[in-house]
Symmetry: D2
Subunit: 373 residues, 4 copies
């Protein structure tokens, strides 16, 4: 039985780690820190934990010193330094911030996050923690950069297309929406109930920090730069990220109208027609490519043809659901992915990474069935 | 004072017409029909109307026979025939269904709606009722095809770009989400509270009936075919349609990385960088084009630079809010539009059309200030 | 045309006054103050007002000095002093805080609000602004204490019972729930979306400041002390207060089981039975008493027998809906009332008071039809 | 490993049984029936189960015949007959309907449910399945009547007061609200998203079928009839029942004003004052009684003094949270309880009963930590 440390345990990602790890069979003890509530108790901050978790909120240094594995759920730039003693003690440091997501590309990190790496040398020990992409390297790393929530949903959706070379040149569009927990536990005007309920709001259009992370993943997956646009939205729900991804297929006639033989073409022959049987068959074939690609992945579900991914069906689970579609012309690939932003998008994936690096079963402690109602 | 007839008064679009018209100063009396509740009373179906509207629900023929102007809020294909007596009596027939939205293009209509025009000759009297596009023709028409909800939000957003020739060749992506009232008043599994709350769900990906309507509007606005893709989503909110529209700008270097002079390019020179000042200035300039284009429109608000359209800020009003953005490379135009799907997307726009065709002030009865909380 | 001043215009009550008064036909101009945003503009704080209201946010003194009637939407204890210059200029001061709600009972006010009256002498000019109770006095007052939101719903529900002497001795229970706008515009952990959505939470059980206000109203209405208990709840909705009020009827056999003649009584003769026809008839009779009592009130709707008040049917209106019920024994009166907490519970009622004191039609500017979907 | 049968597996209670039992370590196999979807598959009805549960939906008879324990999640009156073969085979039948909740009191059952017992003799084998009340009898029974959702929350809240004789004569008021899943999976106008979101609605005031069940529990707990009133409300949330229970304490001076020594009494000596220190101490003492009463219960949490039960803190768990309060006079006990209506209010409690009757650990498979965000 291991002792697990969580620094930044009272934010939502930290709190979710506490909830999930409290039932993890390999975890013996949790040491928790909190900047905001140091000296308090976790079950006071989260009364849902009453009778289940009881722990004082310590200083981060003592958490790191006493643990066999450390999760950092601190904001970007704050937790990097705690990786140093972990490397010294050769224990895994799993970081939910962006600090280690850009490996040796400090230029991109600093362009978007406004600060340099503090300990650039740590990147010799770090890996980007998307298990479906980097499982083997994760198993050997000491620092694991847990992916961002949006990048997880976007990257898993398009990975087969990029790896298998299914796309034409052209912009990939990632249009995504997140539940409000994605904005964290600190109250703000944006997350004030009357301001965000019953409304849908894009934010940071053209400039969200997940742009370079998604682009980086796409480029690594494709082996070449992939031009992309990403727009996040705030949706009036607690959990979930839905990503609708548009990518032009590498096939002739993109964007051209597809006419069925015998179609009456009326006064406007360029007007769209419903997808033909041939297009439907093509979509079903593509869906098989994704199914095959992910056939051994425990947490990716490619949906049966005809179903569409929704956040409801992955809620409170570590699954990423993926559905494959084509537009009416059969030339634009539309991939929809759904994750729980707090689980596969944060704490669950972090535990998946812990399971890999510690040699536990990959699904241990994160195998909850989704809650659909 | 006029007598207004509403056939199909107990659906949501019909109910919203009743609510709005009950305070319209030019409306003297409303005659209402309902297939589901014929013989009942509107204030029983909608108890919110108590003390405000009291009317028996009649058969549609008698409503048409007794009115000076008729709104049809019946489903597609059901109400077309009631336009015949209106033409006979030379009174306006404002149709909220799709029946008259495709003018002489019966081929496209029947391809998507699965039936021919019943009275094709009526199209000699009809106009597509988007006032910002067809105001003059609306003023002279007898049959007004009130636009679909999604097509309204999408078309108003891209109209200036298409009309002014600002776009490059390439797919336009319309990614949009609607509140649940858009699915109508009849209960279904999809709109059952536990099934749609706290979740975001795309539907009819690549095959929604608003595809040909949006494409038709884009093509008319541009004067040439515009390839496009449209994906609707169901969002857990009552009202509102948010459209995020992606369109490649007619400028060199689309999709290429934009490097600032002196940018440290690191190991990955193709990695995205935050938008430069030059890109921000370009976006602000574009925003001026939209502002100028719509400067005389009573119900279009182009937002100040830096603000983003959200459904919250147009809720319960007839406004369409538009915000203009660029991606980080400055080559992809991102237009966000927000409308209340029940008002500018249905009943409000229908009343705007009535005001135009009847010669009332265009904003009369639909000038409610949006309700933001 | 009058100039209306609103001090505290950027809170929710103030913002709602701005929204409603912007369409009030007797209001020529609004002067607005804001502590938080002084020097800013109202349409920046509330972008929904774009193109409709444009005003600088001034200091409160200049607002008071330039207005013909002043609304104070400041917190308790902060706005009292601004009544002084209004009295001096003999213009109405309509206060949405609790400062003037306790008339000469400073002891009760200070016991619950923790401070004395600052200008006790002002109570010579003040009246409790529940129009249904004090309409004539309101018409002659200079200071109007706009009622609290919960007290409005509770008091209107029980007024006929108390006035007509229908109740037995015994505790009255007021169990009520409010939408989140009732907590104001300032973000807090309690009103953070993830903390309050999908949950129902009582608060300040046995100790909410509206206890003495409700008790005071009940006692005045009954002409004697009325023991009462009040529990507020926070409900996951934006607007609305629903009050479920339990009061023992002055009739024999309270709390005893009511047996139908011939009822098989089984092994447990004290077990409850469904209400008999006689009990249903008694409830219908009682409902007639309420209908008659409120027959001339423009904003009270006693629902037809068989309907139940819900917040949905009064949303965005100034109505108070009331439904009358009995428990299964026919001895406990259950009155349900619904109001929009922002309108009849705050800004709408304040405008109703303005209309009365200024001699406008009582419903002018606050006659919106409720929005049920 | 056992085979578990669930008849009525596609309703919400049935679906929740499937979800929870799919992770129960003693359950080897599930046999499922569905009237609506017979011949289909559970993972098609509930796509969240993909990759986790795969089962054909059978006829109920074959489910009963092949199982070691049977859950019936059928509507009232439909499932009673399936208990007969279970008794014959001496396997437990756990019924989530009301059919067996009234033991030998067929008169009360038939008065509220409109039908007689079909197999009255089965009551010789049945017990009311509230473990905190009847644990020992449950362990020996063959038929377990799983309690109603509202009765669970109400009964657990007041059990100590009734058992310990803490109450005065007088009406007990149970004011409660349920999430929408409580209305079941079948769509209806009442549960249509636009009709129930953003609104709070009482229903069946004075006449809900849980009245006799709550009254029966109260009477058994107190050893004498307890007059009571119960009002349910529909709240805009998915899960949870919050019960606010008012009961007069057996202490002198109920309903009288409590004056602190030295309190300035002003012009209105009967006006309520905030609770004194003595009253607060009394409430804290009472809370200790509840804590002691439930000290060995695995699923009841009496909250620390100063906290208030909310549905959020028990969401998706089998806990019943209880908080103890007094009104400002110290004479009215106010108990607040929160449960997840689908778990402690239905499927979770049914599994708790299975665990007891089968001799498993009582918490096995239902020990999820509540999900607070």
């Amino acid at each position: 039985m291991f002792t697990v440390g969580i620094i930044g345990a009272t934010g939502y990602a930290g709190g979710e780690l506490v909830r999930l790890l409290s039932s993890h069979p390999e975890v013996g003890r949790m040491l928790l820190s909190s900047t905001s509530f140091e000296g308090g108790r976790i079950e006071t901050v989260y009364p849902n934990l009453l009778k289940r978790v009881s722990a004082e909120l310590l200083a981060p240094d003592s958490v790191v010193a006493g643990s066999d594995v450390v999760f950092s759920a601190l904001p970007h730039g704050v937790g990097e330094k705690f990786a140093v003693p972990c490397i010294g003690r050769k224990i895994p440091f799993i970081d939910l911030s962006a600090d280690f997501r850009f490996d040796d590309d400090e230029a991109t990190f600093s362009a978007w996050y406004g600060k340099p790496f503090e300990h650039a040398e740590l990147r010799a020990h770090s890996v980007y923690g998307l298990p479906e992409m980097n499982r083997e390297r994760i198993g050997k790393a000491l620092i694991i950069a847990n992916p961002g929530c949006y990048p997880t949903g976007a990257s898993l959706g398009l990975y087969p297309a990029l790896k298998l070379g299914l796309l034409a040149e052209g912009m990939v569009i990632v249009d995504a929406a997140s539940g409000v927990t994605g904005a964290g536990r600190s109250p703000s005007q944006t997350t004030h109930y009357p301001d965000c309920t019953d409304s849908l709001a894009p934010y940071k259009v053209g400039g969200h920090r997940h742009v370079p992370e998604i682009a980086r993943n796409f480029s690594i997956m494709a082996g070449k730069p992939v031009p992309m646009v990403f727009t996040p939205h705030l949706a009036p729900m607690n959990r979930g990220i839905l990503s609708t991804i548009y990518a032009p297929l590498a096939s002739p006639g993109n964007g051209k109208v597809s006419l069925d033989a015998g179609q009456s073409n009326g006064p406007n022959p360029a007007a769209p027609r419903p997808a033909t049987k041939a297009i439907e068959a093509k979509a079903a074939d593509l869906r098989e490519r994704w199914t095959d690609f992910y056939k051994d992945e425990p947490f990716v579900r490619v949906l049966p043809y005809g179903q569409t991914a929704t956040t409801r069906n992955v809620r409170l689970s570590n699954y990423c659901d993926i559905s494959i579609h084509l537009d009416q012309t059969g030339t634009m690939l539309i991939v929809v992915t759904a994750i729980d932003n707090m689980i596969k998008g944060a704490a669950g994936q972090a535990i998946q990474n812990m399971n890999i690096v510690m040699g536990f079963g990959e699904s241990v402690g994160i195998d909850a069935v989704p809650v659909a109602f």
